[in-house]
């Protein structure tokens, strides 16, 4: 099935999604890699400068260019999600994120959290950064740029029909990835 979704999406919508479905999303997404996951988890939700619950989480360290009135996205494909396995179950629980975008798949702990809190892990083609950048309309904000540097900072992107994203792990404990023997 193919879906075009506007973020934020309800739990009911998440429950309609199954592995192998293709989705395109419109709305706000925020990037977070290792450093950002670690830092955000140390903070209280109401002290954050943005509301992660209203956005999709993108495992991405973009290549950005400073321009006159802000930032231009040069290339922004997904990074390897496996590194975030250390944090993701707690992250889903604490911030209520229900669409994760990454590549390469995640582990058992994340899988359980996806089921418990009705969330999906989706994947955009790794390395397709130039193409992904075309689907990002605006970069309204960036946080922790000084402290973390360009790849690890939290970037807020406004996207339109961002995809194709493949639902690779759903809220029913199913995964497209080959399980380790």
């Amino acid at each position: 099935m193919e879906y075009h979704l506007t973020i934020p999406v309800s739990s009911e919508t998440i429950k309609k999604l199954h592995i192998g479905d293709i989705i395109y999303i419109t709305g706000n997404i925020f990037t977070a890699r290792d450093e950002a996951h670690k830092t955000l988890l140390e903070k209280e939700k109401n002290t954050l400068p943005f509301n992660p619950s209203e956005m999709a989480l993108y495992h991405c360290g973009p290549l950005m260019k400073k321009i006159k009135n802000g930032w231009q996205v040069v290339s922004a494909g997904p990074t390897t999600s496996g590194r975030m396995e250390l944090f993701e179950d707690k992250f889903i629980e604490k911030f209520g994120v229900n669409i994760i975008i990454g590549k390469g798949g995640m582990g058992e702990r994340t899988m359980k959290a996806l089921q418990k809190y009705s969330a999906v892990y989706t994947t955009y083609t790794g390395g397709a950064g130039a193409l992904a950048a075309e689907l990002i309309e605006e970069t309204p904000m960036v946080y922790w740029l000084e402290e973390f540097g360009m790849p690890e900072a939290v970037w807020i992107f406004k996207v339109k029909d961002f995809g194709p994203l493949i639902v690779a792990m759903d809220a029913y404990g199913k995964s497209l990835y080959r399980q380790p023997e």
């Binding site: 192998g20 973009p62 040069v74 494909g77 798949g105 083609t125 790794g126 390395g127 193409l131 493949i166």
Partner: protein
């Protein structure tokens, strides 16, 4: 006096690698598109679209513009023998601003990003010397996701070549979708720990489809391609027929007690470009 000119050449070299895949890689990806179906085909389609867009727009195809890695053959009579290292480093700094490249050099202790893709020991430069007056540079910007799947196995010689093959196939199955398959796998066998890893990375320089000159090694390359592709990991680990685009093996003689096996993994964005600097300071990039 030719400093600026050569530096421009280095920037052109890096830009070429970051924005245009070599023909052999595109041919292999197009073949993958033909044989795949469903979700796997969508992955390859997205890859081919981004490759085309990168070339057209001059933007790096992947946001991970990699660790700047160079293999340099210096002619002993090149007038740039003493300056080439600095020219490469300065070229990397300038390319970071001009192309642009993502700043990818972080101090392991402080976590501070150096901001210009240089730092302690980086860019990575492998030197070789030959009799002549030119300098040949190959750029191989190396992404982190695939680099993280590198492996070194200090195997017991008793396991033999069959044990080597098993080690490689098992590790590539464990890597799954993480290194952005379909990948190119470089394998270094023999030498010592460091030599095998260096050989593995050097093996990535060989074009896709080119077999090792020794028949026995060429046959093992073919066997490994078949065995890894049979795993069904497929493009991006989402299932499919194409997990590797190629497997390249290089060897060195080993210590009787050791059987080192190095594995270097390159993502589908098998970015390579080469440059020749002539004695008069003129250059060409391919």
């Amino acid at each position: 006096m030719n400093k600026t000119r050569i530096e421009t050449g280095i920037i052109t070299l890096i830009k070429k690698a970051e924005t245009e895949l070599p023909k052999d890689v595109i041919t292999a990806l197009k073949h993958a598109y033909e044989v795949e179906e469903g979700i796997a085909k969508i992955q390859i389609e997205t890859i081919l679209k981004t490759v085309e867009l990168a070339k057209k727009s001059g933007r790096p195809m992947c946001q991970d513009t990699g660790t700047q890695t160079f293999f340099v053959r210096v002619g002993n009579d090149s007038p740039f023998i003493t300056t080439i290292k600095k020219l490469i480093i300065d070229g990397v700094k300038q390319a970071t601003l001009e192309i642009p490249l993502r700043p990818n050099t972080v101090d392991p202790f402080t976590g501070k990003n150096h901001g210009d893709n240089t730092g302690d020991g980086i860019p990575s430069i492998t030197w070789d010397i030959y009799e002549g007056n030119e300098i040949q540079i190959t750029a191989l910007p190396k992404g982190g996701g695939s680099e993280n799947m590198s492996k070194l196995g200090m195997l017991k010689p008793g396991v033999g070549i069959e044990g080597v093959k098993k080690f490689v196939v098992d590790e590539m199955i464990k890597a799954g979708g993480n290194p952005c398959p379909p990948t190119v796998v470089g394998i270094g066998i023999g030498g010592g720990a460091d030599v095998s890893m260096k050989l593995a990375k050097t093996a990535l320089l060989r074009p896709i489809g080119k077999r090792h000159q020794e028949q026995i090694i060429a046959d093992i390359e073919r066997e490994l391609i078949e065995r890894i592709n049979k795993s069904g990991i497929g493009p991006m680990g989402l299932g499919g027929k194409t997990t590797v685009l190629d497997v390249h093996i290089e060897k060195a003689h080993r210590h009787p007690a050791s059987l080192p096996v190095g594995i270097a993994v390159q993502c589908w964005a098998d970015r390579r470009s080469t440059m020749v600097i002539h004695a008069d300071g003129t250059w060409e990039v391919q």
